[in-house]
């Protein structure tokens, strides 16, 4: 990317958010971070939307129920018809399947509603895309990352094939870099040995 860009990212304290932050910083861009640790809560989108008003790209990464959907809606309104603005939404590969691999759906990590929240995010991206010419919206459906697990992940992760954060953030960075005549509006990823490992 030639121009220096300003990127807003939620949830940069760990995982993919942290990796994306490092990726953009290493290419000389400016990153605005929104975490609970610096006083932001994605359940209050107004605060964040105000702060990212002048950003070029917003990465809607942190998850909290339907908060991502509301944040996407609020920012799309705020940025409507402003050219060359992009919102990257981090979804889940779980919307690409309707079984929870090897688990009772009630035991799925992050609770049974996780898939529903991410499906709503996917649907919102498709719907809003048809309403506005700008900002451009992108959805990236990722699997579990190879980051330090929090307590509720431990049981599930025993059998889980994870995705290296660095490879995924590189892919997202390269995809954003494609924008010219077209942009990448959706990417879904899947671990290479997904079913092999969960059947163990």
């Amino acid at each position: 990317m030639l121009k220096k860009l300003s990127i807003g990212i939620t949830g940069t304290s760990k995982g993919l958010g942290l990796s994306l932050k490092q990726k953009f910083l290493s290419h000389g861009h400016e990153v605005l971070e929104f975490n609970r640790s610096n006083g932001y809560d994605i359940n209050n989108p107004a605060n964040i939307v105000e702060q990212v008003n002048d950003c070029d790209i917003f990465i809607n990464n942190a998850y909290s129920g339907f908060a991502q959907v509301e944040l996407l809606y609020a920012l799309t309104q705020q940025w409507e018809n402003i050219e060359h603005r992009y919102i990257i939404n981090i979804g889940s590969e779980r919307i690409c399947r309707w079984n929870v691999a090897g688990l009772d759906w009630k035991d799925a990590p992050r609770g049974p509603a996780y898939r529903t929240h991410k499906l709503a995010l996917s649907e919102s991206v498709e719907y809003l895309y048809q309403q506005v010419a700008w900002p451009k919206l992108m959805l990236v459906n990722v699997g579990a990352m190879d980051t330090t697990p929090s307590a509720y992940w431990n049981e599930y992760r025993k059998n889980l094939v994870t995705m290296p954060c660095d490879q995924v953030s590189t892919l997202i960075y390269n995809s954003i870099d494609q924008r010219d005549q077209y942009f990448i509006s959706e990417l879904s990823l899947r671990p290479t040995n997904f079913y092999k490992d969960i059947s163990k």
Partner: protein, 198 residues
């Protein structure tokens, strides 16, 4: 590797053929121009089953779905096989423009265009369904926007004709890189959209 592609003699199919060839792979094209018809599902499946990669590119009603289903049965649980299904970004939208007005988008008032979108939705659901039956073959759904190819000249009669079409050379390169970088994970779906529609 050996790559079989349908409709590889024009448009995006041609550029996909070229990019794999450029990287030293063997590419064989199956299209009407050399005597093949994808509606003859069994003969296509039989002809491509010994290849490593199948690019399910040419469109003819539900033929892509039928070919995918039959080839998946033969390739099921074979870790070395890869299928790239070519769909369309049209499956991600159901309006014509932001005011729901009729614009020069492909499927307006046209049974042929309606059938096109419906068949592509079926193809995407078929991959989704099959991908939950087995870990392999690996599959990637490619959902391109309208390509800047001779066949699409004047297809969208707007003053931003070139701005709303994608360069097939660039798209083919991007898809090749996605495939080539597969390791701990791979890309199951990639959708493109033009920067300007409206």
């Amino acid at each position: 590797m050996k790559i079989a592609i349908t409709g590889g003699n024009s448009g995006l199919g041609l550029e996909l053929s070229r990019i794999w060839k450029k990287h030293g792979h063997t590419v064989v094209n199956f299209s009407r121009s050399n005597g093949h018809n994808i509606d003859n599902v069994d003969s296509i499946v039989d002809a491509v089953k010994d290849f490593d990669i199948f690019i399910n590119n040419a469109y003819s009603g539900f033929a892509q779905v039928d070919i995918l289903y039959k080839l998946f049965q033969i390739w099921q649980n074979n870790q070395d096989k890869f299928i790239i299904n070519v769909s369309t970004e049209q499956t991600n939208r159901w309006l014509q423009n932001k005011n729901n007005e009729t614009t020069a988008l492909p499927w307006k008032h046209s049974q042929r265009s309606f059938n096109y979108r419906t068949s592509k939705v079926a193809l995407e659901d078929a991959q989704l369904f099959l991908s939950q039956q087995s870990d392999s073959p690996k599959m990637m759904m490619l959902k391109p926007a309208i390509m800047d190819t001779p066949r699409n000249q004047g297809f969208i009669p707007t003053d931003n004709d070139t701005r709303c079409k994608s360069d097939p050379v660039k798209v083919a390169q991007f898809v090749y890189d996605l495939w080539n970088n597969r390791k701990d994970f791979y890309v199951t779906e990639v959708a493109l959209r033009p920067l300007e529609w409206y």
